[in-house]
């Protein structure tokens, strides 16, 4: 299904519509740019209707506990105040200003303008991501072409159609296509209409976009990451157990499926003995967190069991590295590894424990420099500043408490960038 200028069309009409879009875009660009308030109003109405249960039927395919957590997040993050705050944090002051000029140079006026047309290629790995990416494009006043992920089940399209229903002014700024990624011709056509391409996904997806994008188009890439937790001198912390419980709960909650999830726990030590003792101490805490977090949905539990059992079989074939030193617990395990590589765990609450003394931090992490994002840090207060700096210098983007690795912090950047800032241009007019 295609959403084009507020109306839906069959996918087979894609090429005709893309040809038409080429003529439509200049007409829209020639008009007064879309005001952020129009978008904020539409999103806030969507928030109100979501909370009132208007879309419950659409959310039926998602696990119940996830729906509740999404609603709680929507209640806060999609409110008018929070959206305005987001604009302010990410774009700072967007009002026009004039420069002071310098001896021998003309003065200019600086204005913030939308990039123009943004093509969003959204990954299917997070619920609501396609709609979210599009909303960011709208907030910055852009015309948005959204290519839906193949796994999209119609939820994104329905939410986006709602936005148009609330604010018909958005009609000219939203075009949604369900083009499969294999339709290179269609993708190229969309790319050729765009000033910027925002792509979310695996390196393979990003690579494919780089290859097909016209030279000169601005690429806005959101790639995949691996998270870890760094643990230092537990014996010097009075609240060590509390911190470890919080980390265990983070692992149990995210099941290690997110970019920010903890895959590896690094111990600031070279001692094998210390690593083992840590693993033995952590395993029962993880087991308890997993038990507490155990969903009642048998389908989810069974799926998780199958995933880790399948990973175990693959390990036997040497496809996935396994360590023979594993502390197995009900529904989880702690795998004691003898290298210090940052790598993916078997996920589903099967965490790796490795040695990584402080003085080798940068040397080890540089190997994964393009995949660094979140590090949880559990350490004595007096070490926190020093270790945070060491992690940031090694390339980390977020340093959080152990239990908050996947938390959202209003005002945070995404992979080191403020997304909205990449969707605008600063223009200069000579005075």
């Amino acid at each position: 299904m295609i959403l084009y200028a507020g109306k839906t069309y069959d996918s087979s009409e894609q090429n005709r519509l893309l040809d038409e879009l080429k003529d439509r875009i200049p007409e829209t660009l020639a008009k007064e740019p879309l005001a952020p308030d129009v978008v904020i109003d539409a999103i806030d109405k969507l928030r109100q209707d979501t909370l009132a249960g208007k879309f419950d039927e659409l959310l039926i395919n998602l696990p119940q506990d996830a729906v509740e957590s999404y609603k709680a997040q929507a209640a806060v993050l999609l409110s008018k105040d929070m959206l305005r705050l987001k604009l302010k944090t990410e774009l700072q002051d967007t009002s026009d200003y004039e420069t002071d000029g310098a001896e021998g140079f003309s003065r200019i006026k600086v204005k913030t303008m939308p990039l123009g047309v943004i093509l969003h290629i959204a990954a299917g790995n997070m619920d609501f991501l396609p709609a979210y990416s599009l909303a960011e494009g709208l907030l910055t006043g852009n015309i948005n072409i959204l290519k839906l992920p193949s796994a999209d089940d119609g939820l994104s399209l329905k939410l986006i159609m709602q936005l148009i229903e609330y604010e018909p002014e958005l009609t000219d700024y939203i075009y949604v296509f369900d083009t499969p990624s294999s339709d290179v011709y269609g993708m190229q056509k969309m790319a050729s209409l765009s000033n910027g391409i925002s792509v979310w996904g695996s390196d393979i997806a990003i690579d494919a976009v780089r290859k097909m994008a016209p030279t000169g188009v601005k690429l806005i890439e959101w790639g995949q990451k691996l998270g870890f937790c760094y643990v230092s001198h537990l014996e010097k912390q009075s609240n060590a157990d509390e911190e470890l419980v919080a980390l265990a709960e983070h692992i149990a909650n995210t099941k290690q499926l997110l970019c920010s999830s903890c895959q590896v726990i690094y111990i600031n030590s070279e001692s094998e003995e210390e690593k083992k003792l840590f693993a033995q101490r952590f395993a029962p805490l993880l087991e308890e967190a997993v038990g507490k977090n155990k969903t009642d949905e048998i389908g989810v539990r069974a799926r998780d069991t199958l995933v880790s059992y399948t990973a175990r079989l693959k390990g036997m074939l040497g496809e996935e590295e396994v360590s023979s030193d594993v502390i197995k617990k009900r529904g989880c395990s702690v795998i004691i590894s003898d290298n210090s590589k940052l790598e993916l765990s078997p996920m589903m609450c099967n965490v790796l424990v490795k040695n990584l003394p402080e003085d080798k931090l940068t040397k080890v992490l540089i190997e994964s420099k393009n995949y660094l994002q979140t590090a949880g840090l559990i350490c004595p207060d007096e070490e926190r500043g020093r270790l945070t700096d060491a992690l940031l210098r090694s390339g980390l983007i977020r340093v959080t408490k152990g239990g908050n690795m996947s938390a959202y912090f209003p005002g945070e950047s995404h992979d080191g960038d403020y997304a909205l800032r990449r969707y605008i241009r600063h223009v200069n007019i000579e005075l």
Binding site: I298, G299, R303, T305, V307, L344
Partner: protein, 367 residues
């Protein structure tokens, strides 16, 4: 594969005295697999099954999840045909058949169909609520749907899913038209295929106020599971009542099959609409957290065991289905073999993860 031949020649599919023959055939199959498939041997070793003596009962056999087969192709020895699972989510597994396995399969299918009175010499018209086979579609369900139309001579076959412009689309209007036309004739009609499509068709007929009485001996044969419509699965009684109302087909003429491409046993409903486990296979229900056997009347993952094939190590597989096993006597149809119910499926296996993508690339880059 002497014991396999003997097992699959069993005339009474629900003969309870074949347990020893069954475990013997499993050991025979296992011994073949470990000597013909290195990966299977590694997995067997890894799971602690190192010799036939480690196999005390079918539940000791190394379990291979279909999820694993979809990610990792395994073969063992010669094969003459292959089929792929219909893969609702993009990934699919390839299952290869050896000649002996194919013969055993055919014998089993004939025995089951005879026992359940589905074989009929009376010609009929088929309405296939599934795929039409074409060169690009190797899915087993398309083949099964076609093969099932051979259980009684076919005068015509009409398919609901048509391949048009590169994809399958359901043609409900065409089928509704055919139903009304066939109702006026004397030749029995057999519906065959996905329950979900069949139920939608019944609902559409009902909404349009089309109520017909199809000729005597018409049947509805359901197979292939509820697919992605699992959430809309209706309770059986609603289905039967609607079939009676809009097509005039009685409950006893509605039969459901269960099977998987990785486990080619043609489970067939008894007269009380239950799937009893025949002598050709065993089903072990396993705890969704620990994979330990749960025993009767408890929901868990379905571990399906049959020594049917040698060309693919599918001796003991675990599907994505959740089910429960009951004592045969509870059914009341007269078959004493235990019967199972499918309760649902595990959550979608395409786990939404971004971390895994990053790791794939890191591993690739390191090479």
């Amino acid at each position: 594969m002497k014991l396999r031949r003997k097992l699959f020649s069993t005339k009474d599919p629900y003969d309870l005295s074949k347990d020893e023959l069954f475990i013997g055939a499993c050991k025979e199959n296992w011994s073949y697999l470990v000597s013909h498939c290195e990966d299977y041997k590694k997995i067997s070793d890894g799971l602690g099954v190192k010799s036939v003596d480690d196999i005390k009962s079918p539940e000791n056999l190394p379990i291979i999840p279909t999820m694993f087969l979809k990610q990792h192709d395994m073969r063992s020895g010669a094969y003459i045909a292959s089929a792929t699972s219909s893969g609702t989510s993009g990934n699919f597994s390839t299952i290869r058949f050896d000649l002996g396995g194919l013969w055993a399969d055919l014998k089993m299918a004939l025995n089951m169909s005879t026992y359940h009175k589905i074989l009929s010499p009376r010609p009929c018209r088929y309405i296939v609520m599934g795929y039409k086979m074409h060169r690009g579609n190797k899915t087993a369900i398309a083949k099964t749907a076609f093969l099932t139309t051979l259980l009684a001579p076919a005068i015509s076959r009409k398919y609901i899913l048509k391949f048009k412009d590169g994809e399958y689309k359901p043609d409900f209007d065409g089928v509704m038209e055919a139903v009304q036309k066939y109702a006026k004739g004397k030749i029995p009609v057999r519906f065959m295929g996905f329950p979900a499509y069949t139920f939608f068709l019944l609902q559409m007929l009902d909404e349009k106020g089309i109520n017909v009485t199809l000729p005597k001996h018409s049947k509805i044969l359901l197979g292939g599971g509820w697919k992605q419509f699992y959430k809309e699965a209706v309770d059986k009684q609603t289905f039967y009542k609607l079939a009676k109302k809009v097509l005039g087909i009685d409950e006893e003429n509605i039969t459901e099959y269960y099977g998987a491409v990785e486990h080619q046993i043609l489970y067939t409903h008894c007269k009380n609409h239950n799937f009893h486990v025949p002598v050709f296979s065993k089903i072990v229900i396993r705890d969704p957290d620990t994979l330990e056997p749960t025993g009767k009347d408890q929901i868990g993952l379905m571990n399906l065991i049959t020594p049917l094939l040698t060309a693919t190590p599918v001796l003991s597989i675990m599907t994505d289905d959740l089910g429960v096993l009951h004592d045969g006597s509870k059914c009341g149809c007269g078959i004493e073999a235990p019967y199972f119910e499918i309760i649902g499926r595990v959550a979608p296996s395409e786990i939404k993860t971004c971390a895994a993508g990053a790791a794939d690339i890191l591993n690739g880059a390191g090479k």
